[in-house]
């Protein structure tokens, strides 16, 4: 009975639960919040915790964990195949179906999403007091969108989930944001929506093109069918055009220079938990799309355009660091650091090797944990000191020792200190990059120095030095939820740094498949 439900033998399975549980819980959360204001947050926390727990269950099933009864094991997943697949015909004539599945590429991101949403809801406890019921309902709606993007194995579901993300994020920025929230929300919405439109063109293009190669002679949106014919796409002009259209959609989301301007604005204006989700997960959707497209559907086109992806990556890496050096707002600095770090993801994918891909995916996860930590710190500091301006925060370590200590830790983690999460991805990506394009790699490693430079320069001007008398009222973290957020994120940063094998083992099958496509 349980196995039938979990494996989706009756149509719906465990992945649908992950996908739909948050959205179905969104309305009750809202209504309960309307009745008793304080309850919404606990219900939302509970729902996100359950979702995360189910994600962990999926991980254990995927991993054939001995703790589970063997009837729940998915067995050995074939290379390039999805497991726990749920496939229901939706619109037959278009080759479109409700289809979810999981593989070595999406599973780490699903786990990350479950975790980051749980953390983001915890992080809202202290800060968000305005219209709580609506807020938590929005967060849960957002969770469905993010989970759907990673779980979908059909381009239509993927696109719907991708677009669904925009709506709650628009409201999160527009209602609970900073002083320029309306401008930022609209800027964010229009910018990313335009990119999605271009991506949609790409999706339609791939549907048209696939008709040439499928057995039935019809176009398909199905990921597994597309993967099956990925080697036949070749690199004709139309395929390259599709690649560019999809690439545009993804790198706006990543975001990469020169399409990154929405990010600092959205981050600065978004509420702190919104920034955490934005940096932790929404950027990863772009990276995920890029990896899925280039490794699973259009490998030959990536080979053709690898130079473009690599150049965008390296420019993002260096340019992000240079601009970050001059930022005054702490959140803005972290936002530009995200641009730089996501550049490493692009570099890793561009190398078309196992090491590069593993490094890129490792960076996605590591950045997905470290950047929420940094944004949470920036938000907490802003809340407590009433300013996030770096020059005004001189010497805040005196008043806020715990925040200061974790900020130092997180900065080093983000700068790629060995033993913490970020380093392994840098190592793997640069190993692949030195193998692939030595000149580019030599330019790229200077990005590491600049990254260290802007973090240390920020630390020197904020944490250290004699105290700014204006900060007399600032107080350290005190609420249990704040301790929990800082503790959990720091812990995972450390664990990922010390035991990289846990994560790398999860993606073995995906990395091997990625490399075999070239």
């Amino acid at each position: 009975m349980i196995t039938q439900i979990l494996f989706g033998e009756n149509g719906f399975g465990v992945l649908t639960l992950i996908f739909l549980l948050p959205i179905l819980a969104a309305l009750p959360t809202w209504f309960i919040g309307r009745v008793r204001e304080g309850l919404a947050r606990y219900l939302a926390l509970l729902v996100s915790l359950i979702t995360f727990a189910i994600a962990i269950l999926v991980w254990m099933m995927y991993d054939n964990n001995p703790l589970l009864p063997s009837s729940l094991h998915v067995g050995h997943a074939a290379s390039g195949e999805w497991v726990l697949v749920e496939n229901i015909q939706w619109i037959k004539s278009l080759g479109m179906s409700y289809s979810l599945g999981i593989d070595g590429l999406s599973l780490p991101l699903v786990l990350l999403s479950g975790f980051v949403f749980f953390i983001a809801i915890l992080a809202s406890f202290k800060d968000i007091h305005e219209r709580e019921p609506a807020y938590y309902a929005m967060i849960l709606l957002l969770e469905t969108g993010v989970m759907g993007t990673f779980l979908a194995t059909d381009f239509v579901i993927f696109y719907v989930a991708w677009e669904l993300v925009l709506v709650p994020m628009f409201f999160l920025i527009g209602i609970w944001g900073g002083p320029r929230r309306e401008y930022a929300a609209i800027y964010f919405f229009i910018y990313t929506h335009v990119a999605s439109m271009v991506m949609l063109l790409g999706i339609i293009g791939i549907w048209l093109e696939s008709a040439k190669y499928t057995d039935s002679g019809m176009g398909t949106f199905s990921f597994s069918e597309l993967t099956g014919i990925s080697q036949q796409f070749g690199n004709g002009a139309f395929v390259l055009l599709i690649f560019l259209a999809l690439l545009f959609g993804f790198i706006v989301k990543v975001p990469s220079v020169p399409f990154h301007t929405w990010l600092p604005l959205a981050h600065v204006e978004a509420p702190t938990p919104g920034s955490m989700i934005l940096a932790g997960l929404l950027l990863k959707m772009g990276g995920y799309g890029l990896m899925r497209m280039s490794g699973w559907f259009l490998p030959d086109a990536l080979t053709e355009f690898a130079w473009l992806v690599a150049i965008i990556g390296i420019v993002s890496l260096l340019y992000g660091a240079w601009v970050a050096l001059r930022q005054v707002d702490m959140k803005s600095l972290v936002a530009y650091s995200s641009v730089g770090h996501m550049g490493i993801v692009l570099l890793g994918v561009a190398t078309q090797t196992q090491e590069g891909f593993a490094g890129a995916q490792y960076m996605q996860i590591a950045h997905g944990i470290i950047s929420p930590l940094l944004f949470f710190l920036a938000g907490t500091i802003g809340h407590s000191a009433h300013t996030r301006d770096i020059p005004k925060l001189r010497g805040f370590a005196k008043n806020m020792p715990i925040t200061a200590a974790v900020l130092v830790f997180a900065s080093f983690a983000s700068a790629g200190l060995p033993g913490l999460a970020g380093f392994w991805s840098e190592l793997l990506v640069f190993v692949a990059l030195f193998k692939w394009a030595q000149i580019l790699a030599f330019i790229g490693i200077f990005g590491i120095v600049f990254t260290a430079a802007y973090y240390l320069w920020m630390l020197q001007r904020t944490v250290f030095g004699d105290k700014n008398p204006e900060l007399a009222h600032a107080h350290d973290v005190s609420h249990w939820s704040q301790y929990a957020v800082l503790g959990l994120l720091s812990l995972f940063t450390l664990v990922l740094g010390l035991f990289p094998d846990w994560l790398l083992k999860l993606m073995t099958e995906a990395t091997a498949f990625f490399a075999s496509q070239f």
Partner: protein, 756 residues
């Protein structure tokens, strides 16, 4: 027989050598203030470093004993796979060989003594943070020393960078900084970033070396495997490419070991507590660079000889440059800092002229005497309340123990104690090497001049601090307590014992081995470079060099005595023109010589060139200012330009696109309003006319009641719907949410999943 008696019993515990201090550092950080309230958790740190030291003593002691008695070739790797992706396989563990044994023993000893010393020295300023960081620092160095592969070495290497950052910036909230000294936070940042520049070269070097092994089909980061591969398959590799790789690796060492041109961070690093300076200068951090080269020496040996030549030249430049700067320092830690750089220059020379063993030999000796000097300096600072030698003097009566141990350390640095043997070995090898490579002659010259300078500046320091009368009697200097003096005596005794062993093993001047077992210098070659034949250097040359080194050292000390020793209770004052003035009440012949030489020196100093040189040295050859200017240009102009681009070009491009879209919409609107709407209206008019025609018919056919009724219905519905239009954004959000859910449910119905 011996083989059976001495197994590698303790080696199984070697993994705990770095693990103990790492675990302890976390315990201290979180629980330190509860366990050991008075000393901020010093006790835990003490036990951890102590345990680590004892373990190292057992492991290394066993290895050294086996080497001595058994002449065994020891190379034992205990490792587990850390992770494995594609061709990249990374291991974690320990590699036990003579190099690791010797260096980690020194590191563990000094770390332990520093923690003991800190109990008193940091009794007011300590905190759990301090002890946690010290422990982590020591652990990082031990991880590096025991590492079996490049990646684990790099992990320890970077971790050490962070620990040094945190420790140099320990007094981060200092409000007043003495003039001419950097703020601790700024010094910490400088140290981290300067070494980071070197680190990325090392990072690139490691990866390129790995790719070479990958090209050959045996990808590995492991030291032993890479070395064996290079030795076995030498013909397949290009020595010129290895010059490049070797220099990249050397770049890392240049940063960490403070070689020219990345030496600028080390003098500033004295902004941290003296105990930290001691660790950085003697055991950890700067020694890591030399250790790295020694560890990857096979790369340098394989590479074309140009690589070694560059290493030696950089060493030579560093040695003489910092030796000269040390002459004009007035800060007790400043003198020692520049002397460290200069001694590191010696070690680099040693590496460059083909003697990894002599360099490591000097690493050990320098570690001992520099730790001794720094801890003595700490004791002086603690007792005298200042670190400016202009305000000291006459401390011998008040701090007798410190003065004696510091004398032992100074003698050793000057080249008379245990430092003599290793420094002399380096000079000797340089001279020997110069016979094949004429450029090395310059390096040799630098080494010899630096030997003289070293003896001079360290005794300048000692003579200005300890003898004579106090220049600031109001300071009430006092001897430090036993927590501080005991580590000092330990180090002093280690220094003397080492000197004794070396002496007995090899009477320097005559070059006779009394007890072969104690000829450590010879053993160093045998242990560290087992495959190379022992260097065959002419005996006459050896004796000559040893004699001349001794004479040079004595000359340096003598000159310092003449210029700076306050004979006959001379009163010393520091005058505004930057020189010390000596006033003597009674005179004898030596005082006469002193006065003449001082006046000669003063007249030289007052000339234009003299003043120029003085200024040049005080400014450290303006290298610091050059870098500062460069960084300023990058930060203030280049990055600002990028920021301007970001704020203006990129943002405006987006807005401009938006504007075009908006204008297009305006056009559509016009089109819509005039053309489309006009057509619609026209159609409407026509319909109205038609309707007028139909009206008459309609009125008769259609019931008035129905029309009225439906009109009312519409009115009512409108009334209900109007309430929905609240203008509250969250309500709209609710509707969109409900809409999304409805669509999903309807979709599910259509798909036939949910039964109707």
């Amino acid at each position: 027989m011996v083989e059976e008696v001495v197994h590698l019993i303790f080696s199984d515990f070697a993994v705990f050598i770095p693990i103990i201090p790492i675990v302890a550092s976390f315990i201290v950080l979180f629980a330190g203030k509860y366990v050991d309230k008075k000393a901020y958790g010093n006790l835990i740190a003490l036990i951890a470093t102590g345990a680590s030291f004892i373990l190292t003593l057992l492991v290394s002691g066993e290895i050294i004993l086996r080497l001595l008695l058994d002449h065994a070739h020891i190379e034992q790797k205990i490792a587990a796979t850390w992770f494995h992706v594609g061709d990249v396989k990374i291991e974690i563990g320990v590699l036990l060989d003579p190099l690791a044994a010797v260096v980690s023993l020194m590191v563990a000893l000094i770390a332990f003594l520093v923690v003991v010393y800190s109990r008193s020295y940091m009794s007011h300023e300590g905190s759990p943070r301090y002890y946690a960081e010290i422990n982590l620092f020591a652990a990082a160095m031990l991880t590096l020393c025991l590492s079996p592969n490049f990646i684990q070495l790099f992990v320890g290497w970077e971790l050490m960078g962070v620990c040094s950052y945190l420790l140099i910036g320990y007094f981060y909230d200092k409000e007043v900084v003495p003039e001419g000294q950097p703020h601790p936070a700024s010094a910490a940042k400088k140290a981290f970033l300067t070494t980071k520049v070197g680190d990325i070269f090392l990072f690139a070097g490691i990866i390129l070396l790995y790719l070479e092994t990958l090209n050959f089909g045996q990808p590995t980061f492991d030291f032993i495997e890479v070395r064996d591969l290079l030795e076995a398959q030498a013909i397949h590799f290009d020595p010129m490419w290895f010059v490049f790789i070797a220099l990249l690796i050397f770049g890392g060492a240049v940063g960490k070991s403070a070689q020219f041109p990345l030496h600028v961070w080390l003098p500033d690093a004295m902004a941290g507590p003296t105990t930290v300076s001691c660790l950085i200068h003697s055991a950890t951090m700067v020694k890591a660079g030399i250790f790295l080269i020694a560890r990857s020496y096979f790369v340098f040996e394989f590479a074309d000889s140009d690589a070694m030549l560059i290493v030696a030249l950089i060493g030579g430049i560093t040695a003489i440059m910092s030796g000269t700067i040390a002459l004009v320092q007035t800060d007790i830690k400043g003198v020692l800092a520049f002397s460290t750089i200069s001694q590191l220059g010696y070690m680099t020379i040693g590496l460059g002229v083909g003697g990894m063993a002599v360099a490591i030999f000097h690493v050990i000796n320098h570690g001992v005497f520099k730790a001794l000097l720094f801890l003595s300096a700490g004791s002086v600072i603690h007792g005298a309340g200042t670190q400016d030698i202009r305000e000291m003097g006459g401390l011998r009566e008040k701090m007798p123990q410190t003065s004696i141990v510091m004398l032992i350390g100074s003698l050793s640095l000057a080249g008379i104690g245990n430092g003599f043997f290793s420094k002399d070995a380096i000079i000797l090898h340089t001279l020997d090497h110069a016979l094949h490579e004429p450029l090395v002659m310059l390096v040799w010259l630098s080494a010899v001049i630096t030997a003289f300078l070293t003896a001079f500046y360290i005794f300048r320091l000692w003579f200005l601090v300890f003898p004579g009368q106090s220049r600031k009697p109001e300071h009430h200097a006092h001897e430090s307590d036993s927590w501080m003096t005991r580590p000092l005596w330990t180090l002093a005794i280690v220094s003397l014992v080492l000197a004794g062993i070396y002496f007995l093993g090899n009477i320097p001047v005559l070059n006779i081995e009394l007890i072969p077992l104690l000829n450590i210098e010879h053993h160093m070659f045998e242990w560290l470079e087992p495959l190379k034949p022992a260097p065959d250097i002419d005996k006459g040359l050896t004796v000559l060099t040893q004699l001349s080194s001794l004479i040079i050292a004595l000359c340096g000390i003598g000159l310092a005595y003449i210029v700076y020793y306050p004979r006959k209770n001379a009163t010393v004052t520091f005058s505004a023109d930057g020189t010390f003035k000596f006033e003597v009440s009674e005179k004898d012949s030596i005082v006469g010589i002193q006065e003449t030489s001082r006046s000669v020196i003063r007249s030289i100093k007052l000339t234009f060139i003299g003043r120029g040189i003085q200024r040049l040295l005080e400014k450290g050859y303006y290298i610091d200012d050059l870098y500062l200017g460069l960084v300023h240009v990058i930060y203030a102009y280049y990055c600002e330009l990028m920021n301007w681009l970001e704020k203006n070009i990129f943002d405006n491009a987006v807005r401009f696109t938006g504007r075009i879209g908006y204008e297009l919409c305006g056009f559509s609107r016009w089109w819509d309003d005039t053309v489309v709407d006009g057509l619609v209206r026209l159609t409407g008019r026509a319909s109205v006319a038609l309707c007028g025609l139909a009206k008459a018919t309609d009125e008769r056919v259609i019931d008035h009641g129905i029309i009225r009724g439906s009109a009312k219905g519409v009115m009512k519905t409108g009334g209900y719907i109007r309430r929905v239009q609240t203008g509250v954004v969250e309500n709209y959000a609710l509707y969109s949410l409900m809409g999304a859910i409805t669509i999903i449910i309807i979709g599910l119905f259509i798909a036939g999943v949910l039964p109707l």
